[in-house]
Amino acid sequence: MSQTIVYREWLHRNLNTIVPISGLLLLIILLRIANPFFLTSWDSVITLIYGMSFFLIAACGLTLVILMGSFDFSVPSVLKLSAMIFAVLYPSIGFLSIPSALGVALVFGYVNGLLLARFGIPSFMATLATSMVAEGLAQIISGGYTRMITDPAFRAVSTTMILGLPAIFYWSVGLWLVAILITMVTPFGRAVYAIGGNLVGANLAGINVFRVRVLVFMICSLFAGLAGIFYASQIQGAHMQVGVLDTIPLFASVVVGGTALTGGVGGVHRTLLGVLIIRWLDSGLSMLAIDLNIRMIIFGAIAIVMAILTIDRRRIKIMK
């Protein structure tokens, strides 16, 4: 009897770890059954890496914002804008276009942070608005055309093979590790969790809430910008469809990993699991020739189910 209670308690506490891992294993088995060639060749592994890497970078940035209890809907738009600036400016100024693109991304992050921390606008509202601005800017800069860059150096940023794996793999894993270190071992990371967990307490503990909020939004936009640059390099240019359908999958992968949308619970390390699940599911469904619209429905449903499973109801007193 007592054994069952202990077991149940353990299960309940670790639900947000068990669900993603078992989900991933189940998914691998299902994909293997549906597609006998799944993960059988090195090429298919590399294809998967290309499909996931830029996505992981963007998701890591977003995880920081969600841990802080805020939202950033501008990630896909900033990603697109930065990819576009990189591709449009590359022919004239070469690799100086990378700092330009990242600079613009940082400005967006700064504005997002300022709107929340100084003007008190809820972050989902503020970032929806700035994402519109980013969309418009991307449209103006590109003139609405697809920009193709054929220069091999441009492509090399992401695709240089090192030890049999493309450079983007190392970039994304490296940035993932950096984000993990920031959140797990630095006082800054502690402050992010503190703000997400108990805003009043964080303020009373002398945390500079204003600065942390602005910095987190800037880091998130910087990661989105980097994701855009690597993605542009990977696909040899940029077009207006970049990142268009990524909002829901991005949020889904953060939540599926086990980071609660309410903030303060979870971590960047979990996001890798979420990204694996969501991207594999995506590619598996498209392999099975399932319609894009149906796929969107499935992602929406998964995001909801995972939000229900991961939200720790003890911590939420009032839900509005």
Binding site: T186, R190, G197, N198, G201, L204, A205, G206, V265
Partner: protein, 535 residues
Amino acid sequence: MKYFLIALDIIYVERKMTSSQAVLVEARNITKTFDTVVRALDGVSIEVRKREILSVVGENGAGKSTLMKILVGIHPPDSGELYYLGERIPFPKNPIDALKRGISIVYQERGVIPHLKVYQFLFLGLEDKFTKLGRLQLEKIIGTAKSVFDELGIKCDLGSYLYELPLSTQKMVEIARAILSIRLATGEGKEGEVTPLIILDEPTAPLSIEERDELFDYLLNLKKENSFIFVSHIIPEVMKFSDRVYVLRDGKIVAHHDLSAEKVTEEELFREIVGRESYYELLARYGYGQEQPEERPTVLTVRNLTKKGYYTDISFDIHKGECVGLFGPAGCGKSEVAKTLYGVLSFDKGKIIMDGHELKAKGGPYSRIQKGLGYFSGETGKELFLYWPIRKNVSIINFEKVVRKHLVAVPVISLRLEKSLAEKIVKRLRIRAPSVDTECYSLSGGNKQKVSVGKWLEKSPKVLILEDPTIGIDVGAREDIYEVLLEMKRNGISMLLVSDDPKEYAILCDKILMLKEGMVQRVCTNEEFRGLMGL
């Protein structure tokens, strides 16, 4: 000052209670165990008589709340029997079931819904008894509300919003609602047949002293028709207003007093609650605050501090190692002054000078902590990160003590340093926890507060602002916290105290500012203060 003296004087209200009064509800041998480890209640038996105020007192974690939750059907007991008017009945399965038996509970915190009108709140959830073809019969509701309020003697406008009412009246409305729910659940018209039993869980916690008196006058009036179980740890109140007292300790009833028949002193009751010496003896052991010699350097200077609508022209100095108290009834501006000093609130006029530096009006706690200020509030839910382990709660304001600079000068928190820091505090403050990795929500109230104060002990700021430092915790934990605060004081840390308990000022403060309506009425020494308070 008159009401203070009244509140502190122990006036024994005339009790007409006799032992012949019929027993309304009796619980026998209740045992309750949680998670197979903690024995929350161990063979507890209590009886509630008709038309009485019965107090149940005990330290936090003694089992008071568990017992009440069993009576209203939130927890099922492991074993035990329940009798209603001498007849054995099953334990209620849920609060609605309990309501049908005439038992209801008013919680400490749930409170009212401020943006509802009085009559809307009164009938909240009971509307289906007052609808006709799906339409609310507003006239009938207001009519019923009027007659209930007249009967219960509550004076307030039914159409006003609850937030407009004083806290004591809000509590009365809550009690009226509990009585009304019982009547509706047990069937209208049968008034007088069922004696409602209302459980009040620490009803006076958010109230000021005069509001408490008002509430108790009201309860004494209601006693003619109803029975109350009053859960509290404010001893003077219990002594003054209840007919009988049960003392719970570690899940057992350790004492029972019929206050109409026997004389019990506050000290005796205290001793029964904690099972060891009370903090009166602590007073004797540590002595009272002393006026500080003038040659001690001034740490904090406040001049003509004004915030419109809260306080006016507040001026005082705090010397090194001195504790200054701001004393006054709720709403006198004392807690606003404390919050202003810590930067949670801004101010309009005046100056705050700390060590020769003037503090900005809109600095925020971040800049104040840098200047050497600290703030410790008894409201642990506000200050603690309840779902963090103890060690993280300690290091959140002590990063400089747990951080190591590795390559590229990135500050990295060392788990080892963090743990040893937290372990030091757990040991020093006798915090009862399995390890420093225990999440704070699972600690008892007193231990939570000790974690809160422990982090400041380690930080050792120049001036520590204390706001209700021991609110809602038991006497044992209180002693431990006073001991730590007095040690910090001896080590030269200055303090500012805001509290509701005059004894706290007597123990900690050297100088006390009496506030009324946002203005300083007089400044007195510890000795003068004790004279005024009759301590």
